[in-house]
Assembly symmetry: C2
Homo-oligomer: 440 residues x 2
Amino acid sequence: MPTTMEHSLTVSDELLDRWSRLRRSERVAAFKDLPDEEKDNFFLALPSTSQARLLLALPQGERRLYLRLLAPDDAADLIQESPRARRDELLALMDDSTRTETNALLAYREDVAGGLMIPRFARLRPEASIEEAITYLRQQIPHVETIYYAYALDEEQRLLGVVSLKELVAASPEKTVRDVMRTQLYKVEENADQHLVEHLFSKHGIQAIPVVDAEGRMKGIITADDVAYAAREEATEDIQKVGGSEALDGPYLETGMLAMLRKRAGWLVILFLGEMLTATAMSHYEEEIERAVVLALFIPLLISSGGNSGSQATTLIIRAMALGELRIRDWWRVARREILAGVALGALLGTIGFLRIVIWQAVAHTYGPHYLLVGFTVAFSLLGVVTFGTLSGSMLPFILKKCGLDPASASAPFVATLVDVTGLVIYFSIAKLMLTGVLL
Amino acid sequence: MPTTMEHSLTVSDELLDRWSRLRRSERVAAFKDLPDEEKDNFFLALPSTSQARLLLALPQGERRLYLRLLAPDDAADLIQESPRARRDELLALMDDSTRTETNALLAYREDVAGGLMIPRFARLRPEASIEEAITYLRQQIPHVETIYYAYALDEEQRLLGVVSLKELVAASPEKTVRDVMRTQLYKVEENADQHLVEHLFSKHGIQAIPVVDAEGRMKGIITADDVAYAAREEATEDIQKVGGSEALDGPYLETGMLAMLRKRAGWLVILFLGEMLTATAMSHYEEEIERAVVLALFIPLLISSGGNSGSQATTLIIRAMALGELRIRDWWRVARREILAGVALGALLGTIGFLRIVIWQAVAHTYGPHYLLVGFTVAFSLLGVVTFGTLSGSMLPFILKKCGLDPASASAPFVATLVDVTGLVIYFSIAKLMLTGVLL
């Protein structure tokens, strides 16, 4: 989130938009063509990925210039978006204090509170008067992210309380910070999960939250816009994973062809290898198909119904988990609901499937003399496959989470593949049961 | 977003969490059991859906009490979450000024700027001195959402400029608001799409944006936390749609069984009806299957590979559209990329498929004397099916958007179903071409 309202006001949205549509090779030249007085603001308005690419393409002298425009959190984002081999070189270009702060931020994982925070926050002594506090805040304006929340710390940098600028402005000047500060406040530990942070913000409409270490010493703040940005990136990754791809690292059009293929081929190949089991399963039923080709006609219908119901269930659960609505301990409650839902939906599709076979038979005599038995086979198989699809689609995210993996990997295609093999087994088992001695 | 930091500070997260896990029928009693002094804050901390349900279950006298705690934007959210038949009754319980403001907000669609805004913003006369401005802002604190941004209006309520509290605090007291206010500022029209608003916020790290009508008169402000909340809801809807379900209206566990089934059954039935075309397509190839049962073995593998590659493509495009990275005019650029990606991925899967057939044959003699021809048939079909799946998955969101529909409806299961029928046609056409005179 490398921009602030003050900076971006002078950069037009159209300019940024036009730039983002340029080929990567044309961008450096386009940047150099900008009027000198616009370059700084334009650079600041770019997303970190683009900043990193642009910076690395500039001559060393200019590189230092633009890098030094960035606050430590933005500098850390830029470093993280740069190739590993170039990171030290970029760090060497920073001034000492920014480098120290940036290095401290780089020590955090990107998806924990420490990785989201900004170390430059407004601080106050608790014994300062309101008037002193406002004066002191005014002096801090150039050095901090926001002065709307100021934090009272003791000598060991331990967080004592928070006071908003609004409260300072509203208080009578002879009071002290300690008189007006709130001591009951939300704070997060530096290693708290990003999801927890998001959850606090969205549930309580907080504007900024302090980050503390295990000893209660304040390390930085996270602001609502940074967490919104992180949540947006997170949602993007989840949606991309749900679709059965690895998450892209940047915007679709800016992701190189090779990088994109790599992100997509991995899962496709894994799914393909899994799906090969269907060919193995099918070869077990070759004889049945040979004897009753009519059975083959409904294979795509059956397995895709299982896949579709599984996709529905898995995405509903994945999102509810990401929003903090569901935890691992809720699995049994979800399982009960989803079995019920699966049976209901399976019965519905089964009925429609049965009617379709009966009606087609009446009209076109497609399915032979035993069409009723075929109809029941398909109907019961649908019931079984949809119930199984729904249940496994809903449980897979829990299993992944329990194993410490990302529940969003239980993508729609993953569940569909899982259900395909089982769907075939269910179908042919029911067929054997219903049709042996008649068609088989 | 019915909470503010000040309110929620006294409501513990665990309390809210415990409450959200209660059955709906137990919630009213649990609310009544709360100590009286906690009830207000607890009510304010609940999401709008829960507020509405709780309120409607309370006796009329209490209902009025709690309803009057809400600011107009939160009241409007609550009304929107209530059954239509009860809305007038709830509106009648409000005090006159809140009712007027709430009605004005209810006139906006939920997904436009007007539906996100809060009408209570801080205003200043441009000719006021800095000192007067700060005093005046202090008086407005109880009546406005934020005093961190104050808006200078002329007599016709037209927006002239904005000044932040930070800037006021930093300015010398003898200046006027006009001297320090910024006149170049982002603003949105009341009917602007929510996506545009989100885009402005996330791209420029804005904290609050003014909403104006067609004549430039200021109607309200949208704050970062409200837009973050809206973006989160939007991402949830998109993920649920991508999974092939209608978006749920509330949290998974709080959605009633019947409501959830209705949301899920609709798409499932539509997809099922579409998928029935596979049975029709298959019946055209009944003879081929009868003559060469080996062909049937690869049907699930083929159609699911098409579905998986289509799911990947469609979700990547849907998300890029939601983030404003792609517009309709980019369709051709995307099509070229995706054809390339489809051919590359299809060739990869085709090669793996071919190898699998050759290796299985060497080991288990599964596929008969013409296994090489069968292998080529499967490989070329995979190339065709994956390319077609990728292309149609990527183009479908563009087509839906062009028709004024939601691109997120191009869900993974929708694309998979679309590709299934075509996949069968591709497979059997290639089989006829390669195997006629040999196996067929």
